[in-house]
C-alpha cells in the first residue's frame, strides 16, 4: 500500500506503524518510550506526528498506516508539540547531565572524568583528559582560583573536593618524569596562523592549532613566554622552571615562538593578516592603572605590575625597609608577599574591610601568616617626599557606605587623615590593555576592529572572531581575569579558527544540559545527608620560617595515593550516560528549554541497594520501557508504576528496594532505559561518563556465547552490554554475562603448574571453559605427568539432534525444560512473540512461567503435533540423565524436533571432541582443577587457572556447534 509522508508518496506494508515507515524512508522521528521488542505503548508523546484529517496529534509508534494516509512529520506545529513534550519531561527531570564543576570551569575541563581516573590510579590518563581542554595544567593547577571547587556539591556534605590540587598532582607527572603527553599531531593542513602574545590564551590557541596541523608562529614582545604566568605570578606560587617545561611540551607539535617582537613596533597586524591565513590577538591586560594620589610620580612610588615583572626578570628594585601595598586583589597580595621575601616590612592598605577583599581568602591568610600587616578603611591620598624620594604617605580614614554595583559596600572618605612613614609604596589597583597600536594604519585590516570603552577587543564570545581573519581573546577580550579564562578563550579561538579555515560555520553546537540547580546555593543539603563525611585533604606547605627570604614554591603536591583517596570523595554528579542519553540528544536537537515549564519537582532518593543496578528515579521519564520489558519479556515483573498523576513514579511495588524483589539481575532494564535512570554499577572502579574504547566480543560464561560489547578504559573493563544489532541474543544477557565479570578472581599463570609436585593418583579435572589451545596444553601436561583427564562439569548428554542457529528462526513450538538462564528465557520469549508456542516444564515458582502458553509439571503431559517444528531447550548441567533420556525419546517421536542444549561452559562440545570423559563426581583426594573452578568439585590441592572473561583466545565451540575465533 502507499501513504504520503510529508506529501511524498511512499510504499509500505499493511500492519506497519508510521514510525517504521518513516524510518525506512530516512525520516527520523524521535521516540523515548517505544520498545521495539513490544507492541506500541504511546506514553512519551515525543514521536508525535500529524495525520491529515485527524484531530490532534497521534503517536507515530502507535499508529498503523492506512491506504493513502497523509502524514506530516516535520511541520512547525509537529516540532512544537515534540519540543513541548520534551520541555514538560525536563521540567520534572531532577538531574545533571554534566557535573556542576565542569560547567563552572570557564574552560569546561572534564573534571569528573579526570578525578575518577585519579581515584582509579590512572594519572597519565587523567593528564590526557585534562589536556583535551587545558594544555598547561602544571601552571594552571598552581594558580587557578578553582571556580570548579566553588560549585562542588561535595561542599554540601563537608568540603569541596580538592580539584585544583588533584589536577596539579596528575600534571606534575610530566615534571617528575620523562613522560609527557601531547595529542597526536594531525596531518599538515598547509595553512598557518599568527598569534600575538604568548600568554595562556595565545599558547593554548597555538597548541591546539599546531596539533590540528596548522603552522603556528607566536609573536611575543617579552624575552620569554608565559605572559602573566611568567611576569605576574610570583616564583613562590609558580616556579618558572615548571612554566618553562610546560611551554616546552606545548611546543612539541610544532608551535614556534618568536621572542622580543612587539606588535605595532616590530610586526604589524595588517601584514600578519595578509601573510597568515588567520591571526589571533591575545595580548593580555598588563598595563597598570596609575595610583590616584597626589605626588605619586616620585621615586619610591611603584606600580604592582611593573614591580612583579621586574622581580621576574631578576631586576628587582630596591624597596627600602618599610613598604606599603595599595589594593586588595591577587596582584596586591602577590606584591606584598614578594616584597616580604626581599626582607621588607610590608603593610597592605585597603579602603574597605577584609570582607570586601577580592583576593582569594587562602592567599590573604597566607600573606598574613608570613607577616604582611593588613590595614583597613584607609586610603593613601598624598605622597610627601624628601629630596625627591618618598618619605611619608598621607592616609585618609574611610568608612563604608551603601553597596555599589558590585554588591560590596562603597568606601567613603571621612576627611580625617594622618601621616605615616614609608620607603616605598606599590599600587596594585587594576590593569588594562595596551592598545596604543590600535590607531596606527599599519595595524588595520579591511574591516574595523572595534574596541570596547574599556579598550578591550569586541570579539565574539562564542567564536573569538573579531573581524576578517582576525580573532582575539583572553584578557584582551574580557579585561584582567584568570589564566583559566584565557585558556578557555584560546581553546575556543583554536576551534573556530579551524572551522573558519575549513570554510565552516564558526560557532560550535551547544549540547542541552539538564541541571539540578544553577548554583550550589540553591541546592538542598538534605539531599546529601546520608553521605558519610570525609575531610578534604590539604596539600603540605612550607612552614612560614622556611619561606623567609626565598622564593621557593610554598605549596607541595599530593602524593599519588593521597590524590587517589581525595579523588574518591567525588560524588559523581554528572550523568554516567550523558553521551548516549536519548532525552539529552532530542533536547539538543529540539533546542528544548528546561525552564520553560518550571514548577514543582518530584525528588526521589537514589536506590543503591542492588549490588549491580542503580535506580535514580529523578532521571526517570515514566516511559515504562523497563516495566514492560521486565514484565512482558524477561518475566520477573519487578517494576511498576506507583501513585497517580504528577506523583507517579516507576519502582518496585510498594516502594521496595530493587534488591528485595525477585529481580534476576539480567540488566535488560538498563539496556532499554532511554535516560540514566537505570545504570550498571561497577564495584571496584570509580566510573565516569567518558568511556574510551568499545570492543565487540562473545561472552565466555556459557555455551550460548552471547554477543557483547565491552567498554574499557585503558584496559580496565567498565561495563559489558549486549552488542547492538546482533540477531542472536539481541539486547539480552543474563546476570553472568552482564555483571559476573566483576566477581572474578585474579588470573594465575600457567607456568605455576610446572613446578608442581604431583602426588600419586592425582586426577586432572579440566574445565570446558577454555580455548581449544588451552585444552590441548592441559592434555599434553596430563600426558607428561601420566594423569587421568576427566571433566566433572561435562555431564553426559544423550541428545541426538542438536539445533543449529538457523533452526531458531523457523521454530514453531518451544519446550523449556528445567532451570534456564535469563538470556535464554528472553530469547525464547522473543521467539514466542514472533508466533511460536512456548511451553515450560520446570515446576518452578517463576513469574516467567506466567508468560508461557502452557506450564506443565512433567514431560508426560506434553502434547505436540508431529509436524510442528519443535525446539527443546534445556541446560545440560541442570537435568538428570533420566530427564535427558526422556527428552531424547520424545524428540525421536516427533519428526522435526531439535534440542538447544545449553551448557554452563563455553566449550563443552569442544571437550567431547577431545575425548575427555564426563564424570559426576571425583573419588580422589588429589585433583588438579584446570580452568574455572566448579562448585561441585572439591580438591586437596587446587590451582586455579582462572580465565579472565572476554579474553579467551583461540577457538571455542558454542551450544550450536559454531566455532568462534576469539
Amino acid at each position: 500500500m502507499k501513504i504520503y509522508l510529508n506529501h511524498k508518496e511512499v510504499q509500505c506494508q499493511e500492519g506497519q506503524t508510521i514510525l517504521e515507515v518513516a524510518r525506512e524512508n530516512g525520516i527520523s522521528i524521535p521516540t523515548l518510550c517505544h520498545e521495539p521488542e513490544l507492541n506500541a505503548y504511546g506514553s512519551c508523546w515525543v514521536c508525535s506526528v500529524k495525520v491529515e484529517g485527524m484531530r490532534g496529534f497521534v503517536t507515530s509508534c502507535g499508529t498503523k498506516v492506512r491506504e493513502d494516509m497523509s502524514v506530516i512529520t516535520d511541520s512547525p506545529e509537529v516540532k512544537k508539540a515534540r519540543k513541548t513534550a520534551l520541555e514538560l519531561l525536563l521540567s520534572d527531570h531532577y538531574a545533571d547531565c554534566e557535573a556542576p564543576c565542569k560547567i563552572a570551569c570557564p574552560d569546561h575541563v572534564d573534571i569528573q572524568t579526570y578525578v575518577s581516573l585519579i581515584a582509579n590510579g590512572k594519572f597519565k590518563e587523567a593528564v590526557e583528559v585534562i589536556k583535551n581542554n587545558l594544555p598547561l595544567p602544571m601552571s594552571v593547577g598552581r594558580v587557578c582560583p578553582a571556580f570548579c571547587e566553588m560549585e562542588c556539591r561535595r561542599s554540601l556534605v563537608d568540603e569541596p573536593v580538592a580539584i585544583r590540587q588533584l589536577k596539579r598532582c596528575a600534571a606534575d607527572l610530566e615534571l617528575d618524569s620523562d613522560w609527557y603527553f601531547v595529542h597526536d599531531k594531525k596531518e599538515d593542513k598547509g595553512k598557518k596562523v599568527a598569534i600575538v602574545g604568548a600568554g595562556p590564551a595565545g599558547l593554548t590557541a597555538g597548541y591546539f592549532l599546531s596539533t590540528e596541523g596548522y603552522g603556528v608562529d607566536i609573536f611575543e614582545s617579552s624575552p620569554q613566554a608565559g605572559g602573566w604566568l611568567r611576569y605576574g605570578i610570583p616564583e613562590y606560587r609558580l616556579p618558572k622552571a615548571i612554566l618553562d617545561k610546560e611551554i616546552d611540551i606545548m611546543c612539541k607539535n610544532g608551535m614556534n615562538i618568536i621572542y622580543n617582537t612587539k606588535m605595532g613596533k616590530d610586526v604589524f597586524l595588517k601584514d600578519l593578516s595578509k601573510d597568515y591565513d588567520a591571526v589571533f590577538v591575545g595580548i593580555g591586560a598588563q598595563l597598570p592603572s596609575p595610583m590616584r594620589a597626589k605626588n605619586a610620580d616620585i621615586e619610591g612610588c611603584l606600580l604592582g605590575v611593573d614591580y612583579l615583572r621586574a622581580v621576574a626578570m631578576n631586576q628587582a628594585p630596591e624597596l627600602g625597609k618599610k613598604v606599603a601595598i595599595v589594593g586588595a586583589g591577587d596582584v596586591a597580595i602577590d606584591c606584598a608577599r614578594t616584597a616580604l621575601r626581599s626582607g621588607a616590612d610590608v603593610t597592605l592598605l585597603y579602603r574597605r574591610t577584609r570582607k570586601e577583599m577580592p583576593a582569594e581568602t587562602y592567599e590573604v591568610d597566607a600573606a598574613e601568616e608570613e607577616g604582611v600587616k593588613l590595614q583597613f578603611l584607609i586610603n593613601p591620598i598624598e605622597m610627601i617626599d624628601k629630596d625627591g624620594k618618598l618619605d611619608k604617605v598621607v592616609i585618609e580614614k574611610m568608612k563604608l557606605g551603601e553597596p555599589d554595583d558590585s554588591g560590596r559596600r562603597r568606601p567613603e572618605a571621612t576627611g580625617e587623615s594622618y601621616e605615616e612613614k614609608f620607603d616605598s609604596i606599590i599600587a596594585a589597583i587594576s590593569q588594562k590593555c595596551d592598545v596604543s597600536w590600535h590607531g596606527d594604519d599599519r595595524n588595520k585590516v579591511e574591516h574595523e576592529l572595534e574596541l570596547s570603552k574599556w579598550n578591550t577587543a569586541e570579539s565574539d564570545a562564542e567564536t573569538m572572531h573579531w573581524n576578517d581573519n582576525v580573532f582575539a581573546g583572553g584578557d584582551f577580550r574580557v579585561g584582567p581575569a584568570t589564566a583559566i579564562e584565557a585558556v578557555a578563550d584560546g581553546k575556543i579561538a583554536a576551534m573556530s579558527i579551524d572551522r573558519f579555515l575549513r570554510g565552516e560555520i564558526m560557532a560550535g553546537t551547544h549540547k542541552f544540559n539538564s541541571r539540578k540547580s544553577d548554583k550550589i546555593k540553591d541546592m538542598d543539603p538534605e539531599e546529601f545527608a546520608e553521605i558519610p563525611r570525609k575531610d578534604r585533604l590539604k596539600a603540605r606547605e612550607l612552614g612560614v620560617t622556611e619561606r623567609e627570604l626565598n622564593h621557593k614554591e610554598v605549596e607541595a603536591s599530593f602524593g599519588q595515593e593521597e590524590a587517589s583517596e581525595e579523588a574518591g570523595r567525588c560524588l559523581e554528579c554528572g550523568c554516567m550516560v550523558n553521551t548516549s542519553c536519548s532525552l539529552r540528544e532530542y533536547s539538543t536537537e529540539y533546542e528544548a528549554n528546561q525552564d520553560q515549564y518550571a514548577g514543582e519537582l518530584t525528588k526521589h532518593p537514589i536506590d543503591e541497594s542492588h549490588p549491580f543496578i542503580l535506580r535514580d528515579a529523578n532521571k526517570c521519564i515514566n516511559c515504562g520501557r523497563c516495566i514492560r520489558i521486565c514484565a512482558e519479556v524477561q518475566g520477573p515483573a519487578v517494576l511498576g508504576y506507583i501513585y497517580r498523576g504528577f506523583a507517579s513514579v516507576v519502582g518496585p511495588e510498594f516502594g521496595e528496594k530493587l534488591e528485595d524483589t525477585v529481580c534476576t539481575t539480567c540488566g535488560k532494564c538498563i539496556e532499554v532505559c532511554p535516560t540514566g535512570a537505570l545504570l550498571p554499577k561497577t564495584k571496584h572502579y570509580k566510573n565516569n561518563p567518558t568511556y574510551f574504547t568499545y570492543r565487540d566480543s562473545r561472552c565466555s560464561e556459557c555455551g550460548a556465547a552471547c554477543y557483547v560489547t565491552i567498554q574499557e578504559e585503558h584496559d580496565t573493563v567498565l561495563r559489558v552490554d549486549a552488542k547492538d544489532d546482533n540477531d542472536f541474543n539481541g539486547l539480552n544477557l543474563c546476570y553472568k554475562g552482564r555483571f559476573d565479570w566483576q566477581n572474578l578472581d585474579v588470573q594465575l599463570s600457567a607456568e605455576d603448574l610446572n613446578s608442581l609436585d604431583v602426588p600419586e593418583g592425582t586426577v586432572m579435572n579440566i574445565s570446558p571453559a577454555m580455548s581449544n589451545e588451552m585444552i590441548k596444553e592441559a592434555l599434553s601436561y596430563a600426558k607428561d605427568k601420566g594423569l587421568e583427564v576427566v571433566s566433572c562439569e561435562l555431564t553426559a548428554d544423550p541428545c541426538e539432534d542438536y539445533a543449529e542457529l538457523k533452526d531458531l528462526d523457523e521454530v514453531e513450538a518451544l519446550v523449556l525444560v528445567g532451570p534456564l538462564n535469563q538470556m535464554i528465557k528472553a530469547k525464547a520469549r522473543s521467539l514466542q512473540l514472533k508466533g511460536a508456542k512456548m511451553i515450560v516444564v520446570n515446576q518452578l515458582d517463576d513469574r516467567f512461567n506466567g508468560l508461557a502458553d502452557a506450564d506443565l509439571s512433567d514431560l508426560a503431559s506434553l502434547e505436540i503435533e508431529k509436524d510442528v517444528k519443535t525446539l527443546f531447550i534445556y541446560n545440560r548441567e541442570e537435568l538428570d540423565m533420566d530427564m535427558k533420556n526422556e527428552i531424547n525419546t520424545l524428540m525421536s517421536k516427533l519428526d522435526t524436533a531439535k534440542a538447544w542444549v545449553n551448557s554452563a561452559y563455553l566449550n563443552t562440545r569442544g571437550l567431547e571432541s577431545f575425548d575427555v570423559k564426563a564424570v559426576e563426581e571425583l573419588d580422589t583426594a588429589n585433583v588438579i582443577v584446570w580452568g574455572k573452578t566448579p562448585d561441585n568439585c572439591y580438591a586437596d590441592k587446587v590451582w586455579r587457572l582462572l580465565l579472565k572473561p572476554f579474553h579467551v583466545k583461540g577457538t571455542v565451540i558454542t551450544d550450536f556447534g559454531e566455532e568462534i575465533k576469539l
Binding site: 507492541n39 506500541a40 505503548y41 504511546g42 506514553s43 512519551c44 508523546w45 515525543v46 508525535s48 484531530r55 490532534g56 496529534f57 503517536t59 502507535g62 498503523k64 508539540a81 513541548t84 513534550a85 514538560l88 519531561l89 521540567s91 520534572d92 515549564y597 514548577g599 514543582e600 521519564i621 515514566n622 515504562g624 511498576g640 508504576y641 501513585y643 497517580r644 498523576g645 504528577f646 506523583a647 507517579s648
Partner: protein, 583 residues
C-alpha cells in the same frame, strides 16, 4: 383517605439524610393495617429523608424533610401537611417538576424495593429478556437498539447498536460484556442511584446485550465507594440466578450468562474502558493505545462490549416498548432521555430524567426550582471535571450531545453542577484540574506533567501573582494536552480551563490585572476590615475569628489585625450589622 402503604426512600441519598431512623421508627409505630416497605431513590434528593404514602384510592403523596417527630401523624393517618412535597393526584398535571420528566432508565427508581426481584418482575421485569430469547435473533436485537437511536450514556455518545454490532461481528471463541459502573465525576450520582434503586434493570439490559453480541460472561465494574450498590447488585445477581434469569440455559434457551461484580479501587481513570479492562485483569488501571478496540481485543484479549450503567438500564424498556417509542423522544441525533444529577447551588437537587432537547434553563429552573437563596445564576458545569462551564447567556441551549459540544462543554455522564455569584471561576477550574491531574494515570507526558503545570499557573493567578502571559501559556498548554493525550482523561482535562477562559475571561483579568477576586473566594486577593461606625461592639466576630485577629472591647468598635488575618471570612459571615467590609 386511609394510608395503605408507606415506602421509605432508602438509597444512599436517603440513608445519608437519616432514612434508616425514619424506617425504624415507622416499623415500631405503624399500625398493622399499613404496609411498610423500602424503596430507593425517588429523585427528590434535596428533600431526603422522604417517604411516599399510597392511600386506599391508590394516590401517592410524597413527604420530605422528615424528622422522627413527624412520624406520629402517619400512624394516625394525619401526615404533616407542610412536609408534603407532591401529591400526585392534585399536582401532577400542572407540576413542572414532574411534567418535564420522562422516566425510562429510572422507570422503577423509587417505585420498587430494589432488593425484591418480585417487585421488578411485577413491573414487566425480565419480560424483555424472555422476548429476546424466545422471539428474536441477535441481529434483530442489535437492529432494534440501533433503531432506537440510543447512544452511550457514559458520555462519549457512541451509537450503542453500532458498538454491539462490532462486538457481534468480531471473531472469537469467547466474548465478554462489561458494565461500566465506575462513576467518578465529582457531583455525579446517576449510576449509583440506578444501581441502588433498580439493579435488575441493569442486569436485564446486560443479559440482552450478552445474547446480542454472543457473550456468556460479564463483569460489572463498580466503584468500591458504592458499597450499597455493590451489595444490591450482588443480591440481585443471586436472585436472578435463582429465578433462572441468569446462569445456564436462561428461559430454557441455549443462552447462558455468568455475571460478576468487580469492585474498583478508586482510580478515576478506570472509567476509561481500556484502563477498566486492565484493572479487571489485575493490572494497574492505565489506558492503552486503540486500536485494537475492545470490540476486537478487550478483556483477556477477547472481543468485549462495554457500556455504561444507564445505557444498559434503557435496553429492556426499548425491547418492551419498541425502538420507535424510544426514538420518539429527543432531538436530532440525540434520541430518548438522559438522566442528570442536579447538584450545586440549585434549590432542589436530585436525579432527573428528561428527554433530550430539554433546555438547561428548564432543568435548572423548572425542575430544580432555581438558585438557592434566589441569588443570580452564574454558570453550570456540565460533564464533570472534564466538562465545561456554561454561562447564563447560553441557558437556553438544548441538552443534546451536539449542542452541548458546540458550546465547549460535554454531555459527559450527566453531572450538572450549578454555580452562583459566590463561585470563583478560576477556583472552580483549579478544583477540577486538581482532580483530573491527581487522577491522571501518569502515563502520558502531557497529561501527567502538563496538567500539573496548568494547575500551578492557575494557583499562581489565584495567589495574585499571575501575569497576562500566563493566559497564553494556559491556552497553549491546554491545546497541546488535548492534542497529545492517549485517553479521554487527558484529552478533556483542560476543558474547565478553556471554557472558563472562553466565558469568564474578565474574571481572569480581574485576578491578574487588578489583583481582585470578584467572587471573594481567592484568599490571597481578599481582605476584611471593620467599619467602625457600623460596628456595635457585639464581639461576635472576635469570638468567631479562628486566629484571634480581631481586637476590641465590648460595645466598642473592633479592628482586624491584618498581619494575623487569614481571610477566612468567618467575621464577615458572623456580623449581623454589615460592619465587616470585604474588599
Amino acid at each position: 383517605m386511609m394510608i395503605k402503604e408507606i415506602k421509605v426512600g432508602m438509597a444512599s441519598c436517603g440513608l445519608a439524610a437519616g432514612a434508616q431512623a425514619i424506617y425504624d421508627a415507622l416499623e415500631t409505630s405503624l399500625p398493622e393495617s399499613v404496609k411498610l416497605s423500602k424503596t430507593a431513590c425517588i429523585g427528590f434528593c434535596y428533600a431526603e429523608p422522604m417517604l411516599e404514602t399510597v392511600d386506599d384510592e391508590g394516590v401517592s403523596r410524597y413527604y420530605g424533610y422528615l424528622t422522627p417527630r413527624d412520624l406520629e401523624g402517619f400512624g394516625k393517618n394525619e401526615p404533616p401537611v407542610k412536609k408534603l412535597i407532591i401529591s400526585q393526584k392534585e399536582e401532577a398535571p400542572g407540576n413542572k417538576k414532574l411534567a418535564r420528566q420522562v422516566r425510562i432508565a429510572t422507570r422503577n427508581s423509587g417505585m420498587i424495593d430494589p432488593d425484591d426481584i418480585e417487585q421488578y418482575v411485577a413491573r414487566e421485569g425480565y419480560k424483555a429478556l424472555e422476548k429476546v430469547l424466545k422471539e428474536m435473533d441477535p441481529q434483530s436485537v442489535i437492529d432494534e437498539v440501533k433503531n432506537s437511536g440510543l447512544r452511550g450514556r457514559g458520555g462519549a455518545g457512541f451509537s450503542t447498536g453500532l458498538k454491539w454490532q462490532f462486538a457481534h461481528d468480531a471473531q472469537g471463541d469467547k466474548k465478554y460484556i462489561i458494565c461500566n459502573a465506575d462513576e467518578g465525576d465529582p457531583g455525579a450520582f446517576m449510576d449509583r442511584n440506578l444501581l441502588e434503586s433498580d439493579p435488575h434493570a441493569v442486569l436485564e439490559g446486560m443479559a440482552i446485550c450478552a445474547y446480542a453480541v454472543g457473550a456468556d460472561e460479564g463483569y460489572i465494574y463498580c466503584r468500591a465507594e458504592y458499597p450499597l450498590a455493590v451489595r444490591r447488585l450482588k443480591k440481585a445477581i443471586l436472585d436472578a440466578m435463582d429465578k433462572g434469569y441468569l446462569g445456564d440455559k436462561i428461559f430454557g434457551s441455549d443462552f447462558s450468562l455468568k455475571l460478576k461484580v468487580k469492585e474498583g479501587a478508586g482510580a478515576f481513570v478506570c472509567g476509561e474502558e481500556t484502563a477498566l479492562i486492565a484493572s479487571i485483569e489485575g493490572q494497574r488501571g492505565m489506558p492503552r493505545l486503540r486500536p485494537p478496540f475492545p470490540a476486537q481485543s478487550g478483556l483477556w484479549k477477547k472481543p468485549t462490549n462495554n457500556n455504561n450503567v444507564e445505557t444498559y438500564a434503557n435496553i429492556a424498556w426499548i425491547i418492551n416498548n419498541g425502538a420507535e417509542a424510544y426514538a420518539a423522544y429527543g432531538v436530532g441525533k440525540s434520541r430518548g432521555t438522559k438522566v442528570f444529577a442536579l447538584a450545586g447551588k440549585v434549590k432542589e437537587s436530585g436525579l432527573v430524567e428528561v428527554p433530550m432537547g430539554t433546555t438547561l434553563r428548564e432543568i435548572i429552573f423548572d425542575i430544580g426550582g432555581g438558585i438557592k437563596d434566589d441569588r443570580p445564576f452564574k454558570a453550570v458545569q456540565l460533564g464533570g471535571p472534564s466538562g465545561g462551564c456554561v454561562p447564563e447567556e447560553l441557558l437556553d441551549t438544548s441538552v443534546d450531545y451536539e449542542s452541548i459540544a458546540e458550546i465547549g462543554a460535554i454531555m459527559g455522564s450527566g453531572g450538572m453542577v450549578v454555580m452562583d455569584e459566590t463561585t470563583c471561576m478560576i477556583n472552580i477550574a483549579s478544583f477540577f484540574l486538581n482532580f483530573t491531574q491527581n487522577e491522571s494515570c501518569g502515563k502520558c507526558t502531557f497529561c501527567r506533567i502538563g496538567t500539573k503545570r496548568m494547575l500551578e499557573i492557575l494557583q499562581k493567578i489565584q495567589a495574585g501573582e499571575g501575569v497576562l502571559e500566563d493566559i497564553d501559556k494556559l491556552e497553549t498548554l491546554a491545546e497541546q494536552i488535548i492534542a497529545s493525550s492517549l485517553c479521554g482523561l487527558g484529552k478533556s482535562a483542560p476543558n474547565p480551563v478553556l471554557s472558563t477562559l472562553r466565558y469568564f475571561k474578565n474574571e481572569y483579568l480581574a485576578h491578574i490585572e487588578e489583583k481582585r477576586c470578584p467572587a471573594f473566594v481567592c484568599k490571597d486577593l481578599i481582605s476584611f476590615e471593620i467599619n467602625e461606625e457600623a460596628c456595635t461592639g457585639c464581639t461576635l466576630c472576635a469570638r468567631k475569628c479562628p486566629v484571634n485577629a480581631i481586637e476590641g472591647v465590648a460595645k466598642g468598635p473592633h479592628t482586624i489585625d491584618q498581619d494575623k488575618c487569614i481571610s477566612c471570612g468567618a467575621c464577615f459571615d458572623a456580623c449581623r450589622f454589615n460592619a465587616v467590609l470585604r474588599t
